[in-house]
């Protein structure tokens, strides 16, 4: 029999139902693994010491041990955003999704490491610790939800909740060889997700297989009155129809992304994925969406501007880091924010304040808005013809720890495929497809029209079935 920690979410659920083993056993198995492996992997910032497994219930996800990225608030459990600013912050309330998971009896194992305030793509911007890629510990797990992806890949959690603003769920999942979904904007409540760029942020799910992904998403999709951007949707069971295959599905491969400098192995992987989908019955062809080349610039401007504003609340007055020196107000702000924030956060906040300044507003912010609108139109046009769009997740596979590019804009450019879905409010999913020659996982990114997550699950499931065995 497989070890408990190697079971999928579905297998755990079935096992509980059939009384083959109990949630307490599974939870303990995970805690043991965390104690065994995490000093090496570093996925967790905080392990939940007060786990109590509720009485048996028929709820889906009951008794399933999971981890949560440390920018999603959990009541009475330290939530740091991997920043000095919130190092000792214990929230008096939980995010709506965490409340839901708690109510249905899922088991919170702990809070995972991330790039500080979700700004970064390698998790190396964490002010707390370094997380290693479980596939190869010399490499980064990606970011900013690196800890979440690593915890799932190293069997230290059955699933994880991360957050995605420009690729922060899809990219680390791809780098660690696991599955992820970034839902349509507004599908999952943002109440209790520490804001970075509110018009781009979404909570996403990371799992080891596609079916689990659908299972978990089904539980965290609900209309939340506490979030004014929450979509008015009915709860859906995303596992229904997941096995219906891709016959007749119209797939567009974004050709621009195959000729803008991605690694050869990455391009080959996408082409092979396209061929495979065709073999499985989909209509696949290339589509050019030249407007998408403006995505990175638009993303940099809009996300930095929103971040500048959204992080202004960290001033040392009501909560969070506060300097011990008592001086004047200016000193309070300056010391709190220069000491509390790391370099990347400061870089983005300062950029944001420039983009929004009177002199630059029209030239940068308004222009970025226009570009965003053009990108939305471009996708809308593409989706008149296609059900699904295919592209790489990232121009490279995971990078070695400590080798991140020194140029800030270059680092942003590595998000150029994933940030499009955030800009266009669309759902996207990354599914493991192959490995590089050096053994690093390479995933495929799929994007669907708004609220068409089931198309993503269908296609991903089909690909996964074909590739089963390659990612044992």
């Amino acid at each position: 029999m497989k070890e408990l920690i190697h079971l999928s979410v579905k297998e755990l659920c079935d096992g509980y139902k059939n009384k083959e083993f109990s949630p307490i056993e599974a939870t303990n198995a995970y805690l043991d693994e965390i104690h065994r492996r995490d000093s090496e992997i570093g996925a967790y910032i905080t392990v939940n010491e007060n786990i109590c497994v509720k009485e048996l219930s028929a709820n889906a996800l009951f008794g399933i041990p999971y981890s949560v990225k440390d920018n999603i608030l959990t009541k009475d459990i330290r939530t740091t955003c991997a920043s000095k600013m919130l190092e000792d912050f214990v929230p008096p309330y939980s995010a709506s999704v965490c409340e839901k998971l708690e109510n249905i009896g899922a088991v919170l194992l702990g809070k995972t490491n991330m790039d500080e305030f979700a700004m970064g793509s390698t998790t190396e911007n964490s002010a707390i610790k370094v997380t290693k890629n479980p596939v190869n510990i010399s490499y980064s797990p990606g970011g900013s939800s690196g800890g979440s992806a690593a915890s799932v890949a190293s069997f230290e959690a059955a699933f994880s909740l991360g957050s995605d603003t420009g690729g922060s769920v899809c990219q680390p999942a791809s780098f660690c060889g696991v599955v992820s979904i970034k839902p349509t904007y507004g599908l999952v409540s943002r109440f209790g997700l520490v804001g970075f760029a509110p018009s781009l942020d979404q909570i996403g799910v990371i799992t080891r297989n596609v079916y689990d992904s659908a299972l978990v998403l089904s539980e965290i999709v609900f209309h939340d009155r506490k979030d004014s951007t929450s979509a008015n949707v009915e709860c859906k069971d995303y596992t229904l129809g997941i096995e219906s295959g891709v016959s007749g599905l119209k797939v567009g491969v974004i050709s621009d992304f195959l000729s803008d400098g991605a690694d050869e192995e990455i391009i080959t992987a996408v082409k092979n994925a396209a061929l495979l989908l065709e073999k499985l019955g989909a209509d696949v062809e290339e589509v050019s969406m030249p407007v998408l080349k403006h995505a990175t610039a638009s993303y940099i401007v809009l996300s930095s501007s929103e971040a500048y504003s959204t992080l202004s609340r960290y001033d040392g007055i009501r909560y969070g880091y506060s300097p011990s020196e008592e001086e004047n107000l200016d000193a309070l702000y300056t010391l709190t924010r220069s000491r509390g924030f790391g370099a990347e956060v400061k870089r983005r906040l300062l950029s944001g304040s420039v983009f929004l300044s009177q002199e630059c507003f029209e030239k940068y912010y308004r222009k970025a808005e226009k570009a965003r609108f053009a990108i939305i139109q471009s996708y809308a046009k593409a989706f008149e013809k296609y059900d699904l769009l295919l592209s790489p997740v990232s121009p490279t596979a995971a990078g070695k720890l400590g080798t991140s590019s020194g140029n800030a804009v270059e680092r942003f450019r590595s998000d150029r495929y994933t940030c499009c879905a955030n800009l266009a409010y669309l759902p996207s999913m990354s599914v493991p497809f192959t490995k590089t020659e050096s053994g690093l996982p390479v995933g495929i990114l799929m994007t669907a029209p708004k609220f068409c997550e089931d198309t993503l699950f269908r296609a991903s499931f089909a690909l996964e079935c074909e590739k089963r065995g390659e990612f044992a």
Binding site: R313, D315, I317, L329
Partner: protein
């Protein structure tokens, strides 16, 4: 200031008014809106700007803002948006205020005021919604922050620079206040901060069409101080211009102690608020039906009410204005007036005695019907004015019928001539000195005789009849 100099220049005034909407809860969270509560007892993670919190718009606040817009003759926009105004200050937890900068809920309205040259229209450029900040209290070198007020819904009303002197500006403020009171959307108490006013004032030579440099004046806490501030500022700017100087564009504080304005910050130091659309809130969409529904709920506004009082009840303008000054009281008057046979008598009763009692007792009369009853008794001569006032005071806070009270306390007027004849005769018999004094020309003695009859009848004698009888008998 020299009249000649004054006449050379023209004062141009625009106003920015903030009014707190009297909703039960705050604009973006469910905290109660309170005044004078213990610090930080009506707060939550949302209005305190905790991480991960999100704003949810209070529909009542929208309703009140829309109603105010309609009452001010504005076009209510079917689509408006919220924006972030970014700056750092301890009373602003999120480091930004959620306001409406680019697309306000309403614009292009007006209010008419009375000036010495007749009616004048003051344009209202725009009306928008925003959240209030907290309060800072400075004590012994420490600054404390109270976030109770943080998140209270505000409407900001910006006028066109249509006012030409302090009087007009104060007229506008009074009219605006009254309108908002009648709309029931705000308490408009400047002393409690539920109505605040900033003044924008510039000066130009009479006949010039361009505008002079604009100075913003803050810290105005009453209509009187507003008047003082504007007069002072006009004089200050005019003096500068007379001496061929340049007025600096800046923000000044009105200092109550000295009655002057003092420079706060120059134009160059003005903050760049980095406005951009609030991503946590969607477009505020109001349907045609909704706006129409609100239009139908607009109560009688001050202008119409004044017409009603002056034309229908034949009140003087001044009396009408006094009667209208407190909406709750005016509504009671309305109810009573419908039941009264002589609304004019009713009005006079309220104007002469009612307002005094209102202040003394600090309550409104319990039963509007009683006011009608007393006014009817007065009009028909069944009660004298002194006793009417007694009854009014006695039943002010009670539900007892006024007439019953008057009857059981023997306060009704005695109009029986024959009965009075007897009492008058008695008074004459028992006051020989007064009689002789009167006969020798002392009018005061007559009053004394009347007084004796009144005393005898406990003030109930019909004074007219008594006078007639006395005159007859003393002939």
């Amino acid at each position: 200031m020299n009249e000649n100099i004054k006449n050379k220049y023209e004062c141009v005034i625009g106003l920015e008014i903030h009014a707190e909407l009297k909703t039960k809860t705050k604009i973006f969270c469910r905290c109660k809106t309170v005044f004078g509560a213990s610090p930080n007892t009506s707060v939550c993670p949302v209005c305190m700007g905790f991480p991960g919190t999100l704003p949810v718009l209070n529909e009542k606040a929208v309703e009140y803002a829309a109603k105010a817009s309609i009452a001010l003759g504005c076009t209510v926009n079917k689509a408006s948006r919220f924006d972030r105004k970014n700056y750092f200050y301890p009373d602003l937890p999120k480091g930004y205020q959620i306001t409406q900068f680019f697309h306000p809920i309403a614009q292009n309205g007006f209010l008419t005021i009375e000036t010495e040259n007749g009616e004048k229209r003051i344009g209202i450029t725009r009306l928008h919604m925003e959240e209030d900040a907290g309060k800072l209290i400075h004590e012994n070198g420490i600054t404390k922050a109270d976030f109770n007020r943080c998140g209270v819904p505000l409407i900001e009303i910006v006028t066109e620079p249509d006012m030409r002197n302090a009087d007009e500006a104060v007229q506008f403020l009074k009219k605006l206040r009254l309108t908002l009171l009648y709309m029931g959307v705000s308490d408009c108490k400047m002393n409690e901060g539920s109505m605040r006013c900033d003044v924008n004032l510039s000066v130009r030579k009479k006949g010039d069409t361009g505008f002079g440099e604009k100075v913003e004046i803050k810290n105005i806490n009453s209509f009187q101080f507003a008047h003082k501030a504007m007069e002072y500022e006009f004089a200050r700017q005019t003096t500068i211009l007379e001496n061929n100087g340049k007025v600096e564009q800046e923000t000044r504080r009105f200092d109550e102690k000295t009655g002057t304005t003092i420079s706060m910050r120059k134009k160059e130091d003005a903050a760049d608020y980095r406005y951009f659309p609030e991503p946590d809130l969607g477009v505020l969409s109001l349907t045609e039906e909704y706006i129409l529904q609100l239009k139908n709920q607009i109560p009688m506004l001050p202008d119409e009410r004044k017409r009603l009082y002056t034309k229908t009840y034949a009140l003087s303008e001044d009396d009408a204005e006094t009667l209208m000054s407190e909406p709750e009281f005016a509504y009671i008057f309305d109810t009573a007036a419908e039941l009264s046979e002589s609304p004019k008598t009713l009005a006079n009763l309220i104007l002469s005695e009612g307002f005094k009692l209102r202040k003394e007792k600090n309550t409104l009369p319990k039963l509007a019907e009683n006011l009608a009853v007393i006014s009817n008794l007065l009009a028909s001569g069944e009660i004298g004015s002194t006793n009417a006032k007694k009854v009014l005071s006695a039943i002010w806070d009670s539900t007892q019928n006024a007439e019953d009270y008057a009857k059981s306390n023997n306060l009704l007027q005695i109009n029986d001539r024959s009965l009075l004849l007897g009492i008058v005769k008695n008074a004459i018999e028992n006051s020989p000195k007064s009689v002789s004094d009167y006969k020798s020309g002392k009018q005061a003695a007559f009053k004394a005789l009347v007084g004796k009859v009144m005393a005898e009848t406990k003030g109930c004698a019909n004074a007219e009849i008594v006078t007639q009888l006395l005159v007859e008998l003393l002939k």
